[in-house]
């Protein structure tokens, strides 16, 4: 099962290296979104609270621009039938999820580094809390975006539909993650942020379970 999921990931990875569709659009989107924010901010000095929020604004919209690719490309090219013939639904979902998790990690690391370099008020005081919330938040983001991507790929992949469907599902995660980012910026200890971390962990676990349970219905059309 794990080796098959990895084989699906491997195929997607090599396909991505050839076409470079998701990587290119994600990279350009990060640059565009951050420069728009820089222009809007101008010479203004923005507060810690605002940078934490803006950090997740960029993450959300960047994710929405690129994470649907894994499923939409299969559906557009008509290769989802081929994939159905060689792998079980759970293997397909695991492979695609792995691909998106790695994509989200690369993308968010770049965004975090750019923020640290470009915004004066984005100074992390509690690194370990930031690291934990970053990892957990990324996993949750990848899980929800992957299952919603599967839905919109079958719905004919209307471009604007993806953020519309994802936002309410991601809202609890984003609200909590913004809070956690604020905590790590103002140096709250992990002890005090335990409740928020628990929320993100349970969000990840619940969404993962629900996604595996419902993916069969989406995948078999």
């Amino acid at each position: 099962m794990i080796s098959k999921a990895f084989a699906v990931f491997n195929k997607d990875f090599h396909s991505e290296l050839r076409t470079r569709y998701a990587i290119n659009s994600l990279a350009m989107f990060v640059i565009v979104a951050i420069s728009v924010i820089m222009f809007a901010v101008g010479q203004e000095k923005i507060s810690e609270g605002l940078t934490g929020g803006l950090f997740w604004v960029v993450i959300f919209f960047t994710a929405m621009s690129g994470l649907a690719r894994t499923f939409v490309s299969e559906e557009e090219r008509g290769t989802s039938l081929t994939l159905q013939l060689v792998a079980s639904p759970s293997a397909v979902f695991s492979g695609k999820l792995l691909f998106n998790i790695i994509l989200v990690f690369c993308m968010n690391t770049v965004i975090a580094l750019l923020y640290a370099a470009l915004f004066e008020s984005f100074v992390i005081k509690n690194y370990s809390l930031f690291f934990f919330s970053f990892v957990l938040g990324n996993i949750g983001l990848a899980i929800s975006s992957t299952i919603i991507a599967a839905i919109i790929s079958k719905a004919g992949a209307k471009g604007t539909l993806y953020p519309v469907l994802s936002f309410p599902i991601l809202l609890p995660l984003i609200l909590t993650s913004v809070q956690l980012t604020l905590f790590s910026l103002d140096g709250t200890s992990i002890e005090d942020a335990k409740f928020e971390l628990a929320i993100v962990v349970s969000y990840d676990v619940i969404m993962l379970t629900v996604s595996y349970m419902l993916f069969d219905f989406i995948w078999k059309d």
Binding site: A7, T82, K220
Partner: protein, 212 residues
């Protein structure tokens, strides 16, 4: 001699409120060629997809057995070779890469010698490293057969096997069908007279007008 068997009991499929077919029953347990025919819209492709486990039926049950042991749906795809006009291989990869990646996703080791043999048989060996997007539609149709046979499946399902093929291609496909039918169960869904002439038994589907 394989001991594979497929049994369909009271298969019923509806799309929304439209009934596609109702009460389909059959049992296949000996090697041979079985045909499914019927006019456009009678549900040939839907039926073969249900047999292959790609679609679920609304009512009824399909049971696949290998040596008297029932195959669970999660593993079914490894026992089936499927060719259909809707099947598309990855165009950004070459034929060889396609076969390699797809075998790995199946969880089987890529049998290079058998792949070479099949590619030679379908006259594609010289083009094996070219990207699939550069292939003609006849070549794309032939590579689908290699994809369907590479994992030695017990049950072969060919939906319109000779579409897009010239006479030479047809000859190749008919040879393969005759070869494989000695040991395996073959199901052919087609309207082509010469395809159906190969079959020992033909299930004729009618367009249903019943809705509910």
């Amino acid at each position: 001699m394989s001991t594979y068997s497929v049994e369909a009991i009271k298969i019923n499929k509806t799309f929304g409120r439209r009934l596609v077919f109702n009460d389909i029953n059959f049992r296949l347990d000996n090697p041979g060629i079985f045909g499914i025919s019927g006019p456009n819209g009678s549900g040939k492709s839907t039926l073969v997809k249900i047999i292959a486990g790609l679609l679920s039926s609304t009512k009824g049950k399909i049971t696949h057995k290998n040596s008297e042991k029932e195959i669970i749906p999660e593993k079914l795809h490894n026992h089936i070779g499927f060719v259909s006009p809707y099947l598309v291989l990855y165009e950004e990869f070459s034929a060889w890469e396609n076969l390699n990646y797809l075998s790995k996703i199946r969880g089987i080791t890529f049998d290079k010698d058998y792949a070479k043999e099949l590619l030679e048989r379908f006259l594609l060996y010289n083009r094996r490293n070219d990207l699939v997007k550069t292939y003609s539609s006849g070549m794309k149709q032939r590579i689908k057969f290699i994809f369907a046979l590479i994992h030695h499946p017990e049950l072969l399902i060919f939906d319109e096997p000779t579409s897009n093929l010239d006479d030479e291609g047809r000859e190749l496909v008919y040879n393969i069908i005759n070869d494989k039918s000695k040991e395996n169960i073959l199901i052919i869904a087609s309207n082509d007279k010469s395809d159906l002439d190969l079959c020992t038994e033909v299930l004729d589907l009618k367009v249903s007008n019943k809705d509910f």
